[in-house]
Amino acid sequence: MRHLKPINQKARHIQSIIDNDVVALQQGGPAQGPHVPLGCSFVFAPGWEVDSNGGTAGLCQPVERDLFDCHLTCFWPAHVPDLYNHAPDWTAKCASAQKDWRKIDLIFP
């Protein structure tokens, strides 16, 4: 804490809890062990959006993977149509996202 100084044992205890809590990255973040992003990335480090050379050739995962991973594991459905009601067959021709992503068509409500 920068603006409050814990004085008694209880304050120090609370600080230790806060320090290990999730904090906004702008605050510098707490010291942590290895971080493994699941689904999508919230760290802007090479490996996801860009590779270590700033390009997209050497990404950790194919970007196409995000199409499924984001809305399945992270429930971030904004970029996919409603698969339950409106367009249940949207990905029927896409057996493998890496190879067949071109077969996924646009959906018009």
């Binding site: 409050l4 004085i7 209880k10 304050a11 205890h13 609370i14 806060i18």
Partner: protein, 472 residues
């Protein structure tokens, strides 16, 4: 999203430093100018973080203000209006709390007739005639077994002897403690023994036993001759000071391994805290001196009332200032009320109950009945079981539920509740006829006194943090 100040008590140290005592967490933090400014701005009314950034933009950068707001939110010094802090619930302790201290009322007889006595005086709870006057050896041994069985895995237990006048049953004390030590050794538990006495019967042979057995001693004494003899008299009205003084001196000279404390009962007629302290600590040589206002109904002539509470507060504050000077200078001071409170503040105690009565501490009457504490021992209304049949846990649970601080509506908005928690059950019972009532007659006093102790704590944190390290 508007922000609002949560519960806290702001106080200062010796210099310009500002501190917060957070409620109910009991955390103490020091504020910098920015955090102080944020709280001051919010004192005028709810504001959004953006508003705060703008208001304080002439002195601080936006990201600094936001960091400060985040920190204050994290400690619950402030909260968003939409998400107020959760209301505390009267929950049972998460883990069962073992019995740590058993107070044995070894006799209900006393050789003094102190005018204000809660056991025999006008406010007594138990009619002494209805119970055996002395605890017998079998009951005492059973009490020891009860303590060990209720103590669970605790590596040590506290066995305290109390009365009446404890030493009137000296013979039994000897056998009870010998038995406790023997059982303790077999069970691998340490037995810490102590007793309270009026010092009239402290003969050499008894002092020998106290020293040999490492028994902690608290002497009930009210001050110098004139103060002591006002209430602490024999049945014929003769004062006890001249009898006890040589006994106490002999005890203090010989019992060096454990600190011997004096415990003073303050009355409307005996409020000169400074002179009592000087006599007991400096002239007689007690290790520490603790003061407690007499427990009584308000209409008794020795009760402390409004003006008396003011005098008592000024006396405590003056003696507390001496305590602070001594602590800063590295000298030991014996005003135990301050030291005990500083320790509680340092540990950040936030009490669900005012004391351990009925939880980690219980009192045993002469017949083996177990009650909340020694002050209720023998009272059927406050009985929790007996050393022969064990604790009635359903009754204990009911007691704990009813007396939880979350169920004391009067205390719900008081910033001093983490330390006070409504005050002594016995005091409440004597004053209001019920242990459940908070002691509303001394709320202002408690808040003023707690503030004094917090200011001392803040000053020590600033100027002599190593003093506080002893409590870590």
């Amino acid at each position: 999203m508007n922000l609002r100040r949560s519960e806290f008590h702001a106080f200062t140290g010796s210099g310009s430093s500002r501190f917060l005592y957070l409620v109910p967490s009991a955390a103490v933090v020091q504020l910098d100018d920015l955090s102080h400014a944020v709280l001051e701005t919010l004192a005028a009314g709810d504001r959004s973080a953006t508003d705060l950034v703008e208001t304080l933009s002439d002195r601080w950068k936006a990201d600094e203000v936001r960091t400060s707001v985040d920190e204050l939110l994290g400690l619950r010094a402030i909260h968003t209006v939409a998400a107020p802090p959760p209301k505390p619930k009267a929950e049972k302790p998460k883990r069962s709390i073992p019995l740590q201290t058993l107070v044995l009322n070894v006799t209900s007889k006393c050789n003094l007739s102190c005018g204000y006595c809660y056991e025999y005086g006008e406010d007594k709870i138990v009619e002494a005639k209805t119970k055996p006057r002395f605890m017998n050896e079998a009951t005492a041994k059973q009490s020891v077994d009860f303590l060990f069985s209720e103590a669970g895995d605790s590596p040590s237990v506290n066995l305290t002897f109390f009365g009446g006048e404890t030493l009137m049953n000296f013979k039994m004390l000897q056998s009870a403690l010998a038995y406790a030590r023997e059982r303790g050794a077999a069970l691998g538990k340490e037995v810490n023994a102590s007793l309270t006495t009026n010092a009239t019967l402290l003969r050499e042979e008894i002092i020998d036993w106290i020293v040999a057995n490492d028994v902690g001693v608290t002497v009930s004494i009210d001050g110098a001759r004139e103060q002591q003899d006002k209430f602490r008299v024999f049945a014929n009205g003769m004062g006890s000071y001249d009898i006890i003084l040589p006994n106490i001196k002999s005890l203090l000279a010989r019992h060096r391994r454990r600190p011997v404390g004096a415990r003073v009962t303050l009355t409307g007629q005996n409020l000169d805290v400074a002179s009592i302290y000087t006599h007991l600590f400096e002239e007689i040589g007690f290790w520490e001196v603790g003061f407690a206002p007499v427990t009584t109904s308000w209409q008794r002539e020795y009760a402390i009332e409004d003006e008396g509470f003011q005098r008592l507060l000024s006396g405590f504050q003056a003696l507390a200032a001496d305590f602070l000077d001594a602590a800063l200078a590295g000298r030991r001071h014996g005003f135990s009320n301050v030291r005990d409170t500083l320790e509680e503040i340092h540990k950040g105690m936030s009490k669900a109950y005012p004391c351990g009565a009925g939880l980690g501490l219980m009192g045993v009457a002469t017949d083996g009945d177990v009650a909340l504490c020694h002050r209720f021992a023998g009272s059927d209304e406050h009985k929790l079981g007996s050393v022969f049949d064990g604790v009635d846990h359903a009754r204990q649970d009911e007691f704990l539920q009813k007396h939880h601080i979350a169920n004391k509506t009067d205390c719900a908005t008081c910033w001093a509740r983490p330390l006070c928690a409504g005050g002594c059950y016995h005091e409440a019972h004597t004053r209001y006829g019920s242990t459940v009532e908070p002691n509303l007659h001394y709320c202002n006093w408690i808040r003023a006194w707690t503030n004094t102790c917090l200011e001392i704590y803040g000053t020590l944190a600033e100027r002599k943090p190593e003093y506080l390290a002893q409590f870590d």
